[in-house]
Structure formats: structure tokens, C-alpha cells
């Protein structure tokens, strides 16, 4: 539920600072804190916090390198920001009474469209008009073009939709299910033990899902950027 903490308006546009915005701010602050405070001592033998910072760095760096290639290094900060933002958004939502901003379709859709636009712009910048050859698979017979090209265009345009709905649906479903079982706990009184036990298991599952969905979102971002850089 979106709650306006500080109502704000620019002209007629509502830009109130909501609980969603608060969680985004917390996520940005925590990510920055993790990376900056973690590497504060620049230790040869890293502390726990520094290990987490370095592992996330090397994890995303390896993903970018494997999926986009060496020229993908320029997208590394972007991919890293997306991964950390989605991961922290998902994870912070697991804290009771907090809010999951990635469970709102408008947020995931905006992120997905942003990724889509970046990929498309990169593709145009790299390949110019040649980019349109992406919609016709190489080696296919020419007479198939009337069928293949529309299919490819539709599949390309549906990328932001599938990317955003996957993340949104997973987050909303998982977190809603936990809320539902938590509700059962109260209505069942003494027998509320069972929904709690289920919720404990669900919580473990949700922790995995949050990390997995962040990973999926990020790797698909990498794949779209790979297509943009290499076309086929």
C-alpha cells in the first residue's frame, strides 16, 4: 500500500515522498554504505563487510564479462546498480512492516523500459541502420521474412513486458502469500502454530526468490545489452 509520508507537488504533478520512496532511499544508502564503508580499511585480508562488497563486485564483473564480453565493461556500473537496487528492494521488502518497491508493476516496468531503451539506443549507436537486420535471423530463407520479421519485432518489443512482469509477479505473489499466512496465524488462535511453521519455510524460500529474481533481472539485462553490442 502506497502511503504518502511527505505530500509534495510540482504544479499538478504529485511527487509525494512515499513509503516506496523511503525504501528506495534506504536501499541506495545501504548499498553505498556497504561498498564504501566495507572498503574503508582497504585490507589485504578482507573483513566480512569488505568480502561482501568485493564478492558482489566480482560477481557482477564476471557476469558482464561472460555475457557481454570485454567491451561490456562500460555497462558494468549500470548493470551493478540495477542488480544491487533490485536485490536490496526485494530483500528489504522481507522485513515485516516495510515495503517492497519491486512489487509494484510501475517500478519494475519503468526499470525494464529503461533497460530496453538503453539496449536499443546502444544498438543504434553501434550499428546504425544495420540494427534492423536483428529482426531477420541470418541464414533464414528470404521468403520467410514476412512471417519471421513480425515475430522477431513482437518478441523484441515484449522484452520489457516480460522482464518487468516476471519480477513484479514474483515479488508480489511471494510477499502476499507470506502476508496471507501471517493473517491465518491470528485468525486460527492456538492453531496458528501451523501457519507460522509454513511462514518460516516460506521466508527461506522468499530469501532465495529475492536473490534469484534480482539475478534473473540482471542477467537478462546483460543478454539484451549483448544483443545490442553484437546484434546476433
Amino acid at each position: 500500500m502506497i502511503e504518502r509520508i511527505v505530500p509534495l507537488h510540482i504544479g499538478s504533478v504529485d511527487i509525494s515522498y512515499t513509503n516506496s520512496a523511503l525504501l528506495m532511499t534506504i536501499a541506495v544508502a545501504l548499498i553505498t554504505l556497504l561498498l564504501v564503508a566495507g572498503t574503508r580499511r582497504r585490507a589485504m585480508v578482507p573483513s566480512r563487510l569488505q568480502s561482501i562488497a568485493e564478492m558482489s563486485y566480482e560477481f557482477i564483473a564476471a557476469m558482464v564479462d561472460e555475457n557481454i564480453g570485454h567491451e561490456g565493461i562500460e555497462f558494468f556500473p549500470l548493470v551493478f546498480s540495477i542488480f544491487m537496487f533490485v536485490l536490496f528492494g526485494n530483500m528489504l521488502g522481507l522485513i515485516p512492516y516495510s515495503f517492497t518497491f519491486t512489487s509494484h508493476i510501475i517500478v519494475t516496468f519503468a526499470l525494464a523500459v529503461f533497460v530496453f531503451l538503453v539496449a536499443t539506443l546502444v544498438a543504434f549507436a553501434r550499428h546504425g541502420i544495420h540494427f534492423f537486420s536483428f529482426f531477420f535471423p541470418p541464414g533464414a530463407p528470404v521468403f520467410m521474412a514476412p512471417i519471421l520479421v513480425p515475430i522477431e519485432i513482437v518478441s523484441y518489443l515484449s522484452r520489457p513486458v516480460s522482464l518487468s512482469i516476471r519480477l513484479f509477479a514474483n515479488m508480489m505473489a511471494g510477499h502476499t502469500m507470506m502476508a496471507v499466512f501471517a493473517g491465518f496465524t491470528i485468525t486460527l488462535g492456538l492453531f496458528g502454530f501451523f501457519p507460522i511453521a509454513i511462514n518460516v519455510a516460506l521466508f527461506a524460500l522468499e530469501v532465495i526468490v529475492t536473490a534469484l529474481q534480482a539475478y534473473v533481472f540482471t542477467i537478462l539485462t546483460c543478454l539484451y545489452l549483448r544483443d545490442a553490442v553484437h546484434l546476433h
Binding site: I2, T25, V28, I31, L35, T39, Y57, F76, L78, L111
Partner: protein
Amino acid sequence: MPQLDFTTFAPQLFWLAVSFVVLYGLMRWLALPRVGQVIAGRREHLSRDLTRAADLKTEAEAALAAYQKTLADARAAAQAALRETSEKLAAEAAARQQQLSATLAAQVAAAEARIAAMKEQALADVRGIATEVGGAVVEKLIGASADAAKLRTAVEHAAERAW
């Protein structure tokens, strides 16, 4: 469904844009270079240490080889000196031995010559005495002195028979 409440879209989009831009800026220009620097620094440090360890190992091996070479040289020199000295000593000893045996041989020869001379002398003396004794015996027995030449011949004969 709160997700489809369109009135919340504008504030969500606005703050998403603000947060993400801030996050991207912080990551791009502050956090990621720092972490990258730390990782690169460690990698460099490790490779530097490894290179130094390899250098030290090569140095130690060189030192060992030099030590072994020095040792072998010293041993060879010692053996050469030993051999030379023993050869010199052996030569000296042989020379001394030879000299000694030559001296001894000369002395032996001189002694033998002296003995032979003395023996000759003694034999000659024996014959003179025998001749004298024979002359005296003959004079006592027959009262006349015997012929000296005959006596000497008889003594010669007897001496010849005696040895």
C-alpha cells in the same frame, strides 16, 4: 489492487528516477572505483610478492651453486696440493734411499776389499810362520837346517791341501 492505483504512479516514478540516478552516480564515480582499486591492489600485491619470492628462490639457488662450486674448487685444490706434496716427498725419499744404498754399497765394497787384503796378509803371514816353524822342527829333528826353498814349497802344498 494497490499496484493499479494510477494516482501513485507519478510519485513512484519520480522517486525511482531520483534514487536510481543517485545510486548510479554513487556507484559509477565513488563506490565501484574504490572496490575495484582494492581488488586490483590486492592482486598487484600478490603478484609482486610471488615475483619477489621467485627472485629470492633464484638467488638462493645461485648462492647454493656458487657455494658448491667453491667447495668443489677447494676440494680439488686440496687434492692437487696433497698429490704434489706426496709426490715430492716420495721423490725425495727415493733419492735419499738411492744415495744411502750407494753409500752403503761403497762401504760394503771397501770393507770387503779390506777383508780380502787382510785375509791375504794373514795367509801370507801363516805361510811365513809355517815355514819358520817347519824349519825349526826339522832342525830339532835332524839337527841340520832344511833347505828354505824346499820348505816353502812343502808349506805351499800343505796349505793348498788344507783349503
